[in-house]
Symmetry: C2
Subunit: 333 residues, 2 copies
DNA sequence: GCGCGCAATGCAACCGGTTGCAAAGGCTGG
DNA sequence: CCAGCCTTTGCAACCGGTTGCATTGCGCGC
């Protein structure tokens, strides 16, 4: 069995309170006492039980990390940064992998049972209602990659997808493409809807630019490839703004597989700037989402909410920039 | 504040024991009692506190999941399967992201503080001593993707890397390549060493087959690309067995970037068969590791160890098969 | 009608810590 | 030398559950 507070107290010949205080920052303990306790603790190899102490302190330092993006390579980066960022700050991520089968409500109950201190929902495809459910259970929650709102129910950290759509539209227009396409992610995702809206609004009224759009069933390579293969016989646009990078890479594979050149015959622009976008052989022109900043901010915000549970929901939008690589033709001049 | 057992007991007008038993499978409770308690619990929205109960039961249902592979796309699949598999069985993964900076001992202490019931170490690059550290702390541990041993200190589930190396060697020989190369992962990883050993042993004494080898600094795209670029001016082998798929893809990018054709000028064979290996445009011939089976087995084994902590360490080896795609020339005939 | 066995229930101790409160001790200043 | 204050320490209650044990009550057979 594990070494307990009591064992240490006995060995040191002091009360359990003294031992507890030795391991509690800012408690009133004399130097001798601390030394005595620590040597006893050392000798026994004592480690305080974080879960037991959570009972009285009300803090578990456990943070629920909920996502449904376990198939998108970008998630590797997201996940790496979240786990590192949390553990660097003494917090532990408790992962919930949302699959199609799992009932969303179930994840709320689950995280409540483990008394997580807060929840991070990391997904651009989950509806706002999902994050709200945690809020209703009185859990601080941050929706990372969520849709910005002027009347937010929960904290949101993310990007302005409408602006990204517009940026993509502007970029394609500047390249002189006269027929551009939007090859979106799942139609019901808010990120898809917003990007399309921005894209269309930007190009609406641009003389001589025709815009078409369609949707892939998911943010995935296969979905991008399938949708592009479907489009080829129907007649292609000159360039596509794809839902995200992995979708773009799928679309690129379909195009090249059909003997078409990118960017010679068809241009592509993605969104995310995941690591793979830089790979030689892919070299995708894309809109960069500042993942690192978004995640840092999400963690900082979650920590703030721990001490300020009643803080009004805040929305933090980071701006995106174009990363020029090799899948669009050069700008007109 | 959250609803507690006591609140429910009060509302239902029964003892706290009765409420506790209602939520404990196999406890002695009458039907009326259960109904009464459940309706009270329902009314208050009561959820038992898993952490509090762990104090007396000694079970947290938390499983430490430790890895250092957060940059390899294969880990997406591994991670997805582990988190799903565990949660489907009512267990919660507690992630530890091992970075170069973090002291390995720290992760032991951390998981002990959270009283995890067991630990899964998912990595082919961590040394066996790492997993042993958990064992010494009396935690059941399974080393997934670990090196098989005839005198294991901990449970291991994985593949026979020596056999994989041999399979790769046989495959290349059957294709009639007369100069083959091993482009391994990090030299200090046991998986790299074993694959090289199997590869060399298999080809040793094959008349007319010359073998060279070198190592990339990591299992990553960039490392594979770098190493292949370094090899190009030095003179290439006709085909390479690469440390894993992502390394192969990096090597492929370097070759194609240098104007060489795969498999026309240089053949490639990888290991893992990650999702990306199937992508059009990659179409990598590779040795398939049965990830799904390995992970299922790891989880089953961990669950077994929960009830049988003193079970002698067991080694489970799954066999690998060649997946023929488009990066090797056809077999001789 | 009585004794017995069994199922259902409550009491209270306990899991491993934390913390308010009061007592003890040391130090200060007068 | 004493009063008073502050620091240090221990006691005991408590966090939210679980469980061994004793008690109660019921149904049954004779």
């Amino acid at each position: 069995m594990a070494v307990t507070l009591k064992d240490v107290a006995e060995l040191a010949g002091v009360s359990t309170s003294a031992v507890s205080r030795t391991f509690t920052a800012g408690a009133s303990v004399s130097e001798q006492m601390r030394a005595k306790v620590q040597s006893a603790a050392q000798e026994l190899g004592y480690r305080p039980n974080a879960l037991a102490s959570s009972l009285t302190t009300g803090r578990t330092k456990l943070i629920g990390l909920v996502s449904n993006n376990f198939h998108n390579p970008i998630f590797l980066e997201v996940f790496d940064r979240f786990t590192r960022g949390l553990q660097d700050r003494g917090l532990r991520p408790l992962i919930v992998n949302l699959t199609d089968e799992t009932d969303p409500r179930h994840s709320v109950e689950l995280l409540l049972q483990y008394s997580v201190d807060a929840v991070i929902v990391a997904s651009s495809t989950l509806p706002p209602t999902f994050a709200n459910a945690f809020r209703r259970a009185d859990l601080p929650v941050v929706h990372t990659f969520g849709r910005p709102s002027s009347t937010p129910q929960v904290d949101v950290v993310g990007i302005d997808n409408v602006a990204c759509g517009a940026l993509a539209g502007r970029t394609l227009r500047a390249r002189g493409y006269s027929h551009v396409g939007f090859l979106g992610g799942p139609e019901d995702a808010t990120s898809t809807q917003d990007r399309l809206y921005g894209f269309l609004s930007e190009l609406d009224g641009s003389p001589g630019v025709r815009v078409t759009h369609s949707f892939a069933r998911a943010y995935s390579f296969d979905a991008g490839r399938e949708e592009m293969r479907r489009l080829i016989p129907e007649g292609l646009a000159e360039a596509y703004f794809c839902g995200d990078d992995v979708l773009s890479i799928g679309a690129m594979a379909a195009l090249r597989g059909a003997g078409l050149d990118v960017p010679g015959d068809v241009g592509l622009i993605g969104l995310n700037d995941m690591e793979m976008a830089r790979w030689e052989g892919i070299d995708l022109t894309t809109i960069q989402q500042p993942i690192g900043e978004i995640i840092e901010r999400s963690i900082d915000r979650v920590i703030y909410l721990l001490d300020t549970p009643d803080a009004p929901p805040d929305v933090c939008i980071r701006s995106c920039v174009l990363v020029e690589r090799g899948t669009l033709r050069p700008a007109l001049r």
